[in-house]
Symmetry: C2
Subunit: 413 residues, 2 copies
């Protein structure tokens, strides 16, 4: 038995190869017709064309007076032109209005421009008169008129398939009169921790027990990434309980994440034991630190992707950012979305195990262009992760780097 | 009457001065005791110290065998040391365990280290035996043992007042046994559009009417910024209706946003007319484009901040990002949060009105370091905003810039 076999290095899979394997196995969610209030974050599977002109009719860009530009061509502050005010057109007025030459109509922002008018004089250029108005400045034809179709004409493609629906896209869909859109919804993510040692925070613990943190942390991370996410109560180390919890979650879950129960130790690795029987989830040693033991596959009638992340909180969090986030976006046939990468100068020396890619928790100072590893790099040291805003990448063959080295850094969200 | 008075320039307030006035008027929300599941995005008002050690007890970092290091000091692959296995310590085991010299105990990741043991041998260094185990590598004292207090000792400050609670902070609070924390919650934002011309998307419009888009767009923008937000149904141009809608919304709103009804035109500016009577909301002309007419103040018994944004969708959106976002974070005594700023080279010439700061919708190419204004810069042209990912800032005195100029750019979220 060689040392390589002893340490398991021979079986380790590179990080990028593992992520590619995961992404290749993802089948995008089927598109659905989504109401606007559920379309935020969805990814369009249709081009959205304007069915009507935007704006739909010529309308006023200002509060003022609709006029014939020729009638006020001579207006100056010294010699204002006075016109009779024949009425008023508020926004939302659906009655037809007509302007007779030599007169004007009061008009509000957004109100339809009367037929016969070819300019709107802002109220600031007038004395604001009600029966008659003195206009002290000329306006060119078209002034302050937003033309029908000035933003889009019917048939113009407003949004294209493959775009993610953000706030402005929601606004544009609404402005175009659409109350539904065909898109891949944001995947619903469920996170569950496993382990007999887990106790709910706020409850007393006995020696040997710890408070459960992973499911809350990862559900919050998924929400931060824009996905609807929830936690499942912690599941005991029991194969039947794990399978029952997974089956229950599948009813309204598009991506399942478990933590714990996937070490190398055998019968106590309950998640591994439970899922290995299904034959659709593969367990890997990935050449990384933190986070070596990883599992990924599909479960249930819909082929729902499942990640079985390690139970150490730092391992679970880093694995979530590196693997689960890109997979979630791939479920929408988008991205895949990864953490933003930059480079910075090491503020001090770092060490890394040979043959594994390290993701060292660190404080990035973007202004100074430096990055300093935090103290406490073990995979259970969550307090040090809470002080970090970045991960320093140390490549697989490298076992140490001196301060001053330029390194690749991932920015934590 | 001078031209300046005619065009209203004399009365315009600079953007920064207006924002400062807004921020100075914000009173942070009172802190509350929040459950973990409502603490995401909250800003701590207490230092959180560890009440117990983290980890709370010495535990195993690997699946393997708890041993006395001295017993296996001579172990090599060629001459393994064989020890009797006297039992098993799973994670979550609350029974006391003791190791007798010359023996070992099977132990799982996270399980408490038995008294008398001073190292854990990973299962990969052994033959995995059940009754006896052959260990082929020595381990130093302390190997694979996570010491009690290795992440934090009682009294260590884990999180400090003023921090925003993100996913890792939620995880750390849970790991420390906390199920509540004292913090300023994320402000609940309500957005309502006003205007008789507004029709719900999906419903037919008559000439003079348009589909309502602002409330959906801004509620989505508030959610994207991390705040709980909802839209109120569009409110007609009626003072009593506007006041009633505001009063109803105040019951569960920490920050109110209206759009429309704040132009310069007088009696049809219903929002302005309704709120001016209260005397607690000020209306300003701000020296910017888009977005000149702005209103801000407080309403209701709790002094809830209210923004009355212009009704043009691009004006409303830009105003939201420039003014409402920083104000929302100031309600948590945090930030104020602003759009990320960068600089880039103009891909083409731009124009801007004298005396107003322009925020031109643009496509930023970060890799190339260039920024190109999109076509369609009028404040009603939402389709062009949907193609933009940035805003080019053109300072107040500048009326035009040639291509190649380096400009300040705000990155849209």
């Amino acid at each position: 038995m060689s040392i390589a076999q002893h340490t398991g290095q021979a079986a380790m899979q590179p990080v990028d190869s593992y992520l590619n394997e995961v992404l290749a196995a993802i089948r995008p969610l089927p598109p659905r017709e989504l109401r606007l209030d559920e379309a935020g974050g969805a990814v369009l599977t249709e081009d959205v064309a304007a069915a009507w002109a935007l704006p739909p009719f010529d309308n006023s860009g200002m509060d003022g007076y609709a006029v014939l530009a020729a009638d006020i061509a001579a207006a100056t502050p010294e010699r204002p032109v006075t016109l009779p005010v024949r009425g008023e057109v508020p926004a939302g007025d659906t009655r037809p209005h007509h302007l007779d030459p030599g007169t004007c109509l009061r008009i509000m922002t957004g109100a339809p421009v009367p037929s016969g008018a070819d300019a709107v004089v802002p109220v600031e250029w007038t004395d604001g008169g009600v029966a008659h108005v003195a206009i002290s400045r000329a306006a060119e034809p078209g002034y302050s008129i937003r033309r029908a179709g000035g933003d889009a004409v019917p048939g113009d493609v407003l949004l294209t398939a493959g775009m993610r629906v953000g706030p402005v896209q929601i606004g544009l869909l609404a402005a175009a009169g659409r109350d539904t859109v065909t898109a891949r919804p944001s995947p619903r993510i469920t996170v569950m921790s496993t382990g007999d040692e887990l106790i709910e925070p706020g409850q007393p613990v006995r020696p040997g027990q710890i408070w459960e943190s992973n499911s809350r942390m990862l559900a919050a991370a998924a929400q931060q990434a824009g996905y609807p996410a929830r936690r499942h109560a912690a599941v005991p180390d029991d194969k039947a309980a794990v399978l029952a919890a997974i089956e229950a979650a599948l009813a309204d879950t598009d991506l399942l994440v478990t933590t714990g129960g996937v070490s190398m130790g055998g019968e106590h690795d309950i998640v591994k034991a439970a899922l290995q029987d299904l034959g659709t989830v593969a367990f890997r040693k990935v050449a990384m630190q933190p986070g070596m033991p990883q599992g990924f596959g599909v479960v249930g009638p819909a082929g729902t992707p499942i990640f079985t992340l390690p139970g150490n909180p730092v391992s679970a969090y880093v694995s979530f950012q590196l693997f689960v986030r890109p997979a979630a976006s791939a479920l929408q046939d988008f991205g895949p979305e990864r953490l933003a990468a930059t480079s910075a100068e090491l503020a001090g020396p770092v060490r890394s195990p040979s043959g594994r890619r390290s993701y060292l928790r660190a404080v990035l100072d973007s202004a100074a262009g430096t990055v300093a590893p935090v103290s406490g790099q073990s995979s259970h040291q969550l307090a040090s992760l809470a002080r970090a805003n970045a991960l320093i990448i140390v490549p697989e063959p490298v076992t140490g780097l001196p301060g001053g080295t330029t390194v690749e850094v991932l920015v934590l969200p």
